[in-house]
Structure formats: C-alpha cells, structure tokens
C-alpha cells in the first residue's frame, strides 16, 4: 500500500472493485459486434480516469472466468504512476489458467461465468479494507457482465448480495450482453447500486464515465438511472406460475401454489392442515418488498 497518512481519506475517496467478465464463450458470441479488445479499450481508460479523479482512489480488478476467478489488478500494489494497462499481462495468465481448468472440449447449452465467486472475492477484499482501521476509502463494486445468469449459483449469489447489503456496499451493474441479468438487477436493487444495460456498446466509455465514475458521496447529488422497478413476485416451484400468495417451506423457503405433502426441494414432510382456519394461517403472504 502507498504510505499515505490515513487521515486524508475523505468521503469522496473510492475503492472501486471492478469485476470483468472474461467468459470466452460469451465473448465468442458477440465477437461480430463488440470484441473483447473493444471492451478493454473502453474499460482501461475508465479505470485510469478513476485513478486520476482522486490521488487516493483505489481500483481492484477481478476477472470473472468460466472456471475460476482471480484478482488481476490492484492499484495499491502497482508501481507509482503505472496505468491500468498493466493488468493485461495478468489477464493473459488468468485466461490460460482458466482454460487449463476446463474439463470438456466443447460447451453445449448455457454457459455462465462464476459471478458468485468474483462477488465473494470482492466482498472479502472489502472486508479486509474495513478491518484495516476506521479510515478507509468508500468501497463499491462494479460488475461489467455479459454472460447469462447461472441458475445453479442462485444461493451463493443471493448470499453475496445480502452480505453486500449488510455492509452497505453498493453493487453497480453494467450489462454488456444482449439480455438482462436477473441476478445483477436484484443485486443493484437490493444494495442501492445502479443497474444499466447500455444500448450502444461502442459508447461504453461514455456510459461508464457518466454513470459509474462518480463517488458515493457525489451520488446523493446526482440523478442517476433508476430502476423501473423490479418484479420480485415469485413463481411457484411446481408450475412456475406467478403467485401473490402461496405456501412456503419453512425449511428451505421453496414456494408452492398449493399444499403439498412433501417439499420437492428439500424433502421435508409437511404437517397436515387440520382445519380450514389452520390452513388459512399456514398460508403465508409472500412479501414482494425487500
């Protein structure tokens, strides 16, 4: 770490954790419109400009791969005046390592990257900073993500989101894929971050510097893109129908539209509702607010 007297940390000093999607399958699908080098040519200047905004600003980049994640850049460890381009070497190494972990020669179906892993790493880093003393830069997480959501990571990602919410770390999302991400939408909504899906990727730098460059203190004075509203209504596990009221397994929180004898998710056996009154009270409202 640069030896700067900690008292200089004001509320406009940022620690920006950037998670970049390095899923090769995602970048292969978009290579005709927006290549990975295009992407980097927008992101690297953005990282440099963050570092220029405040001498004490810190940028950490985590690569979200297909098989693994890793830190590829930390401005506090870099030599003075070294620019973000220095991450390219580490990025190359990371991609090679990520490939070595691959077990199949080809991929069929949905291929999502390890967002839960990189979110957890970012949060761990932030926790370390929090514990370094009472004075530290204000952390936030920016996900530059394009791969589709991985349903299998649901529990891990939601846990990360709630953990970020608990430590009041906003998760900003900039979706560069063609489809929206339900994960990131929730992440930004729950943690009070900004969710954005740029319409024109060739202007990505403009989006990044307009929406995501301002520190948390400045945000209170700015009008940033707001969510139109997230529909958190759940659908039942049994028919995938959207429901307002239903039964919730008290063990695993699975949702069902009608009474079952046994939970299909965790196998818990439900007690028989004895009377109509009892079954009415068993019926819990699924709250739509977080």
């Amino acid at each position: 770490m640069t030896t700067v007297p900690s008292k200089l940390y004001a509320d406009d000093v940022s620690l920006l954790m950037v998670l970049i999607d390095t899923n090769p399958f995602f970048w292969s699908t978009v290579k005709n419109t927006f290549t990975f080098s295009n992407f980097l040519s927008h992101v690297l200047p953005f990282l440099n400009s963050i570092l220029l905004l405040n001498q004490l600003n810190q940028v950490v980049v985590i690569a979200t791969g297909y098989n693994s994640c890793d830190y590829i850049y930390d401005s506090s460890l870099a030599a003075p005046n070294q620019r973000a381009e220095s991450l390219l070497g580490k990025l190359e190494e990371f991609v090679t390592r990520d490939e070595e972990l691959s077990q199949q020669n080809s991929i069929e179906g949905v291929w999502s990257s390890l967002l839960s892993g990189s979110l957890s790493m970012a949060l761990c880093y932030i926790q370390k900073v929090f514990r370094s003393g009472p004075l530290h830069p204000q952390p936030r997480i920016l996900c530059l993500h394009g791969s589709p959501d991985g349903p299998g990571q649901y529990v891990a990602i939601m846990n990360s989101i709630f953990s970020a919410q608990r430590s009041t770390v906003p998760i900003d999302s900039c979706v560069i894929g063609s489809q929206h991400s339900a994960f990131l939408q929730q992440a930004s909504y729950i943690t009070g971050g900004v969710y954005l899906k740029p319409q024109q990727l060739e202007g990505l730098f403009q989006y990044l510097s307009t929406v995501f460059a301002a520190d948390l203190h400045c945000r209170s004075f700015l009008q940033l893109p707001k969510p139109v509203g997230v529909d958190f209504r759940a659908s039942c596990f049994c028919h995938k129908n959207t429901i307002d009221m239903g039964y919730i397994c008290s063990v695993c929180l699975s949702i069902f539209c009608k009474h079952h004898k046994k939970c299909s998710t965790c196998g818990s056996v439900f007690g028989q509702a004895q009377t109509n009154v009892a079954s009415a009270s068993d019926r819990k409202r699924k709250t739509t607010e977080t």
Binding site: T29, H180, P198, Q200, E202, G229, F237, G267
Partner: protein, 600 residues
C-alpha cells in the same frame, strides 16, 4: 367487611410522643368521631372519610404502641393509640374500606358515564403504569384520547382488552420478598453498667435467623422445648453460650460445657452445619481445584489471618471443640442470607419456624442422590468437563442436514418475473445457446488481449457523435423515469397519498378496529350496560363513516380509485356491524312488543 360501625377505646394524640387524650373512637361509613372521656376537653373530632387520604400504622411488636395515623387532604393527620393491636386492626381495616368507598364515590360523581363495570380501585402504581404505556405508544394514546376521553368507552373497558399489556408490564417488577437482614451481630449483649446482668434482645426475626444459621440450635430447640425446658430457659441458655463465646474465653466455655450438657450443645461446633458444608463442597465443579489456590487467601489461617486475640490462639486440642472462627460464622451467615427466606411461616411461633426450617433442610437432603451416585456423577462430570474438543468424534447433531435437490428452482422462481419487467423474454436467452469449442473460445479471447497489448489504446476512446448519442439517451431515460415511477406496482398506494390523508386513513383504520373489537365482544347483549355500550359504539362508528367518504373525495382524482379500494374493506366491516346492530334491535323490539300486543 363490617358495614355497621366500629367503636373502640383509644387515645387521641397530637404527636407520637404525646400521651394523648383518652376517649372513644367511633367510625361510621362516612365519617369518624372522637369523644374524649373528659367532657370538658376540646379534643373532639368529627371528620369525613372523604377527606382522609391515607392511613399508616405501627407494626405489631412487643414493645410497640398500637398506633393508627390518618392523614387528611390538607396535610394534617390524626393519631390514635389503642389499648391492643386487635382493637387497632379492627379500626384500621374499617378505615381502609371507608377510604376506598368514599374515594370511589367522589370519582363517580365527577364522571359522566355510568359504567356498571365498576371502575377498579386503581393503585397509584397501576395508574402510573397505564400512563406510561400511553406515553410510550402514541397510537395507543390517540385511541385512548378519542375513545375514552371522548366518552365512547370507559377507562376500564379500554384497558380490559389490553390486560396482557398491563400484565406484561406488571410482571416486569415482581413483588420482592424481603430477605434476611445481613448484619451479623444483632444479638449483641447489652449491659446496664450497674448490675452484672447482661441482656440479649431476641425478636422472632432474629430467632429465625439463628435457626437458619445454626442447625444444631434448631435441632436442640426441637429436642428440648418444651419437654426438657421452657422456651425462655432455652434462650437463656443460648444467650449464656453466646456470652461465653463473646468473651472468647475458651477455657471457661469448656468448663461450663462439661457441667451442662444442654449448654454444651450451643458451645460446641455445629456438626450439622459442618456436614451440610461438606455436602456442598461435593457439589462444587469437580474441575475446580480448591487446593491449588489455597495459598491465595487466608482460609487456612484461623480467623481469616487476623489475629484477634493472639494470646488465646494457641491450639489446645481439648478446647479446639469450643473455638469458633470468625470466618466460619461469616461464611455461614453469608450463605444463609443469600439463600433467602426459604420458609413461608409466620414468624411468631418459634416451634413452627424451627420445624419448617428442619423440614426444608430435609427436603434438600432427599433431593440429593445417595453418596455412591454422587461419586459416579462426579466422575462423569470430570470426564465431561475435561473433554478436549479436537479429540472427540464429531457429535451427531439432532438436526437433519439441509439438502437442496436443485438450487436452480429458486432462480427459476424469480427470474421469469424479473426479466419480464425489463421487457426481455426468455426467448432471447435460448437463442444464445450454441455449441462452441473450448480451445477455440479461449484462443480467440487471448488473441483479443494480445491485440490490445500490441496496438495499445485508441487515441479517441469514443467517437464524439457516439458520446453525444449516449449522453442524450441517458438524459432522456433519466428524465422519463420520473414519470414512470407512478406505474411501479410495488409502491404502496398509501405512500403516494398526501401525508395528511395517509395518516388519517391509518388512524381511522385503527379506531375502526378498536371499536369493532369492543362491538362484537359485547354480543350477545345480556345487560343494559352492554346495551348502552353497543349503542355508544355504533354512534362512534357511524361518525367515522362520513369521514371516510370525505377522504375519498378530498384526494386527487388519480388516487380516488385507489383510496376507495382501501376504504372499501373498512366500510364493509362497519356495514356488517350496523346490520347486526339493526337486526338485534329489531329482534328486541319485536320481543318487547309482543307482550303489550298480546295484552291489548
């Protein structure tokens, strides 16, 4: 309670020390009179109980006066001394009821509502508790103000449905039982300085404490009194022993004990207390090494290491029996005080106190398992407490591990809606599925990286016209979201209402709930009180009805529909109550109407 009158001989005193004017005290329901024996005396009294605020009295005791002190509103007081405590108590009880009755009458006069549910006699503490509850909860206070002060419900009715609230608060400060005194040397011999007589003062309280601290004395009392000696003789002997102890003259004590077997019981060390102590030691945590820290304190030194009287501290084995250490007494005393009042017996009767204490000790003993079991239990405890966690096999927990068959279900349950709200469809996702070779994909990714590595960053990152387009697009979408906000289905309708309207709606909803609760709980109507209560409640509810209509009309037209949706259930609940009320009234009038019709 007697409702006639009470007449007792008493002396009217201007102060506690004053001898007082002898005469007769007469109490009737409304007032009390004092007539001095000397007709010429001016100390005549005729006072209404209405003016009496409270009464104080002396505790019953051998050397105490039987006093009754009546305090009046203006700050004065009347002190009477009675010949006996029973006379005093008769008057005291009469006064207590009289004050309560007259106080209630006074209040009832000032209150308009004639509630047959008689207002409870509220203690000051109870009143304060209610006030505190109201202060803590502004919603409750609002309701109370509206319904009780507004005359719809009586104070008692209002709180009757909140008994739990009061109870919970009450249980917080449980009635405290008075413990034992913690000073040790209350049995101090006092000498008048002239004769050689030494006096000990024993009260039932002190006797209780002696019995509790010295089981041998207690046992002796049960053994000797009254078969061998009277209670007085017993205590004289005990006092003699205490006196000998206080002189610390072990030799004399031993000599006297040799001559008097009964006295010896008091002088010797208390075997029962000692065995009780040994039993307690066995229950101490076995991993606690008491010998290890023996050096840290002075327990191994007699009298706590303080040399009280060095010359007599030579340990002479024949006299050792008669020596008592200060520390032992102190510990014993502390243990008894901390144990608290174990028995619940009137302290007056010495024998029953002794028996009750003996019984409670016996219970303790039977609770304990036999010695053999104790040893086994000690061993078990040692092995349990000396357990080293990492050397133990993992314990089987009584909980089943959570096993989730497929966590993807959670995602599917939410994703569909979330994506829908952004205007996406899952069809887009399906399109992206395609077959790719791993090596190819990674290879091209690496190519892109080396491409930028060699070419470096572009001179202009973004083309100006693209940047402008982005800025315009962002500005437009930000300014348009303002208008979209209203369409957010997850915002509560209430939040968009003007603050006043929202508060009013919430308050009406609360009042309606409260009124309906009282309304429905009044059925079936069995008394005229319930009848008037129900009609009062109905009136109050019908006053809210138009107010709801007003709110509906006062809000902007965009909200009117939403508000009417909110108000609808309230109106329905009220309508149901009104319908029931009307039907009940009709039934009643039909019933009462039948008879006159039949007669006419």
């Amino acid at each position: 309670m007697t409702d006639g009158q009470v007449i007792k001989r008493a002396r009217y005193k201007s102060s506690v020390k004053d001898f007082g004017v002898p005469g007769v005290l007469k109490m009737t329901r409304e007032r009390f009179f004092f007539m001095p024996n000397d007709p010429k005396s001016s100390a005549r009294l005729n006072v209404e109980f209405r003016l009496v605020k409270g009464h104080k009295f002396t505790k019953e005791g051998s050397n105490k006066q039987a006093l009754l002190n009546l305090t009046v509103d203006q700050g004065g007081n009347y002190i009477f001394e009675f010949d006996t405590f029973s006379d005093r108590d008769a008057c005291r009880e009469y006064v207590a009821t009289a004050i309560a009755v007259s106080g209630e009458a006074g209040r009832a006069g000032s209150e308009r509502s004639a509630a047959p549910l008689q207002d409870e006699q509220l203690s000051h503490a109870e009143m304060e508790r209610r006030i505190r509850l109201l202060q803590e909860d502004s919603e409750l206070q609002k309701l109370h103000k509206q319904l009780v002060i507004g005359g719809v419900l009586s104070e008692a009715e209002f709180w009757a449905t909140r008994k739990k609230l009061l109870d919970e608060n009450a249980s917080r400060k449980s009635k405290q039982q008075v413990g034992l005194r913690n000073d040790m040397f209350h049995v101090k011999p006092s000498s008048d300085g002239q004769s050689n007589k030494v006096t000990f003062n024993l009260t039932p309280e002190i006797i209780h404490q002696i019995f509790a601290e010295k089981p041998a004395v207690r046992q002796a009392f049960l053994n000797f009194v009254p078969s061998k000696m009277t209670e007085k003789e017993f205590w004289t002997k005990y006092s003699r022993a205490e006196y000998l102890h206080s002189t610390k003259n072990v030799v004399v004590a031993a000599a006297e004990a040799a001559e008097d077997d009964e006295l010896a019981v008091f002088l010797k060390q208390d075997d029962m207390a000692a065995s009780e102590a040994r039993r307690k030691i066995r229950r101490v945590d076995p991993t606690l090494d008491m010998e290890a820290d023996e050096g840290d304190d002075y327990t191994h030194l007699p009298d706590h290491g303080l040399s009280c009287d060095g010359s007599k501290d030579v340990t002479d084995s024949p006299y050792e029996l008669y020596r008592r250490s200060l520390l032992q007494e102190l510990n014993r005393h502390a243990a008894v005080v901390l144990e608290g009042r174990a028995i619940d017996v009137e302290l007056g009767d010495t024998r029953s106190v002794a028996e009750a204490l003996a019984r409670s000790k016996q219970d303790d003993l039977t609770d304990e398992v036999s010695d053999g079991n104790i040893n086994q239990e000690r061993l078990d405890r040692i092995s349990r407490m000396a357990e080293i966690d990492d050397l133990q096999a993992p314990r089987d927990l009584a909980v089943a591990p959570l096993c989730i068959k497929d966590p993807r279900d959670y995602f599917d349950s939410q994703q569909a809606n979330a994506i829908k709200s952004l205007g996406d469809t899952l069809a887009g996702a399906k399109q992206m599925k395609c077959s790719l070779s791993t090596a190819e994909a990674y290879g091209s990714l690496r190519d892109y990286i080396s491409e930028i590595k060699t070419s470096g960053l572009n001179d202009s990152i973004v083309k100006p016209e693209v940047a402008l387009k982005v800025l315009n697009g962002l500005t437009q979408s930000i300014s348009s979201t303002k208008y979209h906000l209203g369409k957010n289905p997850h915002e509560s309708v209430l939040d968009r209402l003007p603050y006043v309207a929202k508060q009013e709606l919430l308050h009406h909803w609360m009042s309606i709930q409260e009124l309906l609760k009282h309304f429905w709980s009044s059925y079936p109507i069995t008394t005229t009180h319930l009848f008037t209560k129900v009609s009062r409640l109905k009136d109050a509810m019908s006053q809210i009805y138009p107010k709801l209509q007003e709110i509906k009309e006062s809000v902007q037209s965009d909200f009117r529909h939403q508000v009417s949706l909110l108000v609808q259930p309230m109106l329905q609940a009220l309508d149901a109550a009104f319908a029931h009320y009307d039907a009940d009234i009709q039934k009643r009038s039909a019933k009462s109407g039948e008879r006159p019709n039949g007669f006419v």
